[in-house]
Symmetry: C2
Subunit: 404 residues, 2 copies
Amino acid sequence: MKSTGLIVEYNPFHNGHLHHVEQARQLTNADVIIAVMSGNFLQRGEPAIVSKWTRAKMALSAGVDLVVELPYAFAVQHAKKFAFGSINILKALDCDNFCFGSESGDIDEFYQALNFIKVNQVTYEENVKKLMKTGISFPSALTNSFTMINHQGEFVDLTKPNNILGFHYIEANHELITPMKAYTIKRKNANYHDKEFSSSTIASATSIRKATFEGNQSLQKIEQYIPDSTLKAMEEYLSEYGSFHHWEQYWPFLQYRLLNISSEDLEEIYDIEEGLEHRLQKMAKESQSFQEFMNKIKTKRYTWTRLQRICVHILTNTKKNEMKKLHDKIQYIRLLGMTHKGREYLNHKKKDLPFPIISKLSSYPNEFVQLDVRAANIYAQGLKEPYRSSLFKMEYAQPPYYFN
Amino acid sequence: MKSTGLIVEYNPFHNGHLHHVEQARQLTNADVIIAVMSGNFLQRGEPAIVSKWTRAKMALSAGVDLVVELPYAFAVQHAKKFAFGSINILKALDCDNFCFGSESGDIDEFYQALNFIKVNQVTYEENVKKLMKTGISFPSALTNSFTMINHQGEFVDLTKPNNILGFHYIEANHELITPMKAYTIKRKNANYHDKEFSSSTIASATSIRKATFEGNQSLQKIEQYIPDSTLKAMEEYLSEYGSFHHWEQYWPFLQYRLLNISSEDLEEIYDIEEGLEHRLQKMAKESQSFQEFMNKIKTKRYTWTRLQRICVHILTNTKKNEMKKLHDKIQYIRLLGMTHKGREYLNHKKKDLPFPIISKLSSYPNEFVQLDVRAANIYAQGLKEPYRSSLFKMEYAQPPYYFN
C-alpha cells in the first residue's frame, strides 16, 4: 500500500484542508493518507479550538486514513523542531511520500533553496549572527539572512509562513537516511494569517476561529468554509463540552502561575531566556486579559508566537531539562484514529515500527508520554465543570477513533 | 500607656469579638488594645471571607487601637507555631498583657496544665509517640496523651479548640525572657465549631460565614450577630470587590496546580509528608469541587485543618526551605491599621522595637515579606476581573487604615 504523510493541525478542519487531502492523494497516487497532527496545544502556542480527539474525527471523516499525535515536545515548537518531529514520525510510519501546502507550490524551489544555503553556509550564518545583534528574532534573522543572499529572488520566498515550514520539512527529510519523496501543493485563496474571509468556500483556520468566537461560538458564519462533517463534530463538541477553547479561558491559570512561581523557577521553564522572567511576572500583575498581557510583553526580540509558546510552557510547567530528555528522538507514536484502510496499513507495518504505538493511555505507563498527559489535563482545565472532568477522563479512557 | 494584646482572625468581626475586646480592656485596665491578626489566609487553612484590610477596619471600628498582621509563615500553621508567632509579635510591640478567649475561662488551669506537663514530660512524650503509631494525627496525640495523664480532669480540658490555642499561648509566653501577663475570658454562648445559630446576638464566625454563603452572600441573616460597623464594612467589600472569598473560588487553581506540578516538586511543598503527594494528585483529577476533594483526601493521620493548610501552601507554592528561613524569628511587623491612640502608642515605642514596622509595602523591599505578598496576590486571584486587579493594587499601595 502506497502511503502519503501530511503534517497538520486542523484547527479546525476546513475546506482548504479537504482540498489538500484530496490533491495529495491524487498527486501521490496514495492508497493511504496519514496525518501527524498537533495535540491539544499548537505550534503557534495556542490551545486548539476543540480537542485532538474531535479534530482526529474531522480528519477521518474527510478522507484521512490514520491520525497520530505529534507529541507536545515537538508540536509546541518553532518550525525547525516541529518539522523534525513531524517528518520523523511520518518516516517511522514508513510513509513513501509526504505532501505539504505552501505559498510557492513548486517543490524544486525548496530543494534549490536548501542547496543554495548549504553552499553559502558561512555567509548565511554570519548574516544571521549580525542580524540577531540588531535585536530581531531568530526566525526573522534566518529569513532576512536568506533574502540577503537570495539576490534575484530565484528561490523560494522564505518570508511566507507555509514556505518556511515547508523548507524545514525538506531540510528534516533530507537528513533521513532514506528520505521520503516530497510534494507540495499551492495553497488556494486563503493566506495563513488571514483574519477576514476572502473567498466563498475557502478561508484560513485563523479567520474561521475568529468568526466562531466573535459569533459567540455560533457556527452559522463558518458553515460555508467547512465540510459538513466538521460542522457536525463542532456542534457535538459544543453540546458535550459546553465551550470551544480559547487562550482567554487559560489566562487566569497563567496569571496565577506567574504569581506563585519564583523567578528562579520561572527561569527553568523551557525557552525562557534570562531577563524575560521578570518582565512576565511584572506584567502578569498588571494585565486583566491574555490579550493585554501579550501586548505588554511583546518585544522585537521575541516573536508573538514564541511568546505564546512560552506562555503554554509556563501553563504546562514544562521545564528545560524535561524537554531536553524528549528532544533527541521520538519515543512513541500515539494513535488518535483510523479508518478501516488505516488499520490494515498499521497491522501490516506494526511489527517493523521503530517505536511503540500507544492506542490507549491507561495501558501504557511510559514516562515519556507524561508531558502529553499533563498537557491534556491542563487543556481540560479551560472548561468549566462538569465538562472539565469528562475531558480529563477522555485522555485515559478513549481508544483511537475507528471510522468505517 | 498600658497595653493589652489580642490574637485574632476576625473572620468576620462579630458580637462575640466585640464582647472580648471590651472585656479585655476592662479586665486588664488597658489604655491600648493591640490585635495581631492573620492575613488573607487563616490558621485553619482557609481564605478569609474578606481581605485583611477590611477585617482591620472592622477591628478599629469596634475598639481595637492597633492591628498588625501575623505573617503567613505563622498564621497558616498548627496551634504551636501560630502561638509562637502571635505571642512574639505582641511581646515585640511591648504589650504588658495579653488576653484570649477560651472554653475554660480560668487562667490558673492553663498554668497548672503547663507545669503538670513539664513535670510529667517523659510519660507525656512517650504517650504521644505510642498514640502516633496508631495512625492518629499529631494534635490528637497531644490531646489524648494529656488526657491520659490528667486522670482526674483537674487541669484545663485540652479537647476544646480554644483551650488548646490558649495552652500554646501560655507555653510560648512562658518561654519569653520577661513574659507578658496572661488573661483569659470565658467564651460566651457560641462554640468555636458551631455551624448553626444558638443565641440571639452571639454566634460563631463559622456559623456566620455559613449563613452568608448559604444566603447567596446576603447579609440579612447575620445582621443580628455582628456590629453595625462590620455590616457596613462587609457591604462595602461586596460592592467594591463583587464577592466574598470562599475555598471553592480557589479550587480551579489548586486543581490546576496539582495537575501541572511534578510529584517531586510537590513533595517540596511545606508540611507534605512522603506519600501524600500521590494521593493529592490522583484525587485532584477525580474531584469537581474543593469539598469533594477534601472528602476524598482525608485520613485519620491528617486532620482536616492540616490538609486545608497544606492546600493553601500548594496554592501559594510555599516550600519547605522557604518556610524554614522564616520560622526562626519574626523579621518584620506589618501595620494594617490604627486609631489615634494606637498611633500615639506606636510613636512612643517605635525606637525600641526589635523589628522594622512596615507601613506601606511599596517602600519596603524586604525578602522576608515576599511570602505575604504572594499570598495576597493569590488571595486576589479568587475574584473575577476587574475586582482581582484592584485587590492586587491594594497590597502595594494601601497605607495602614487610620481610624479617628
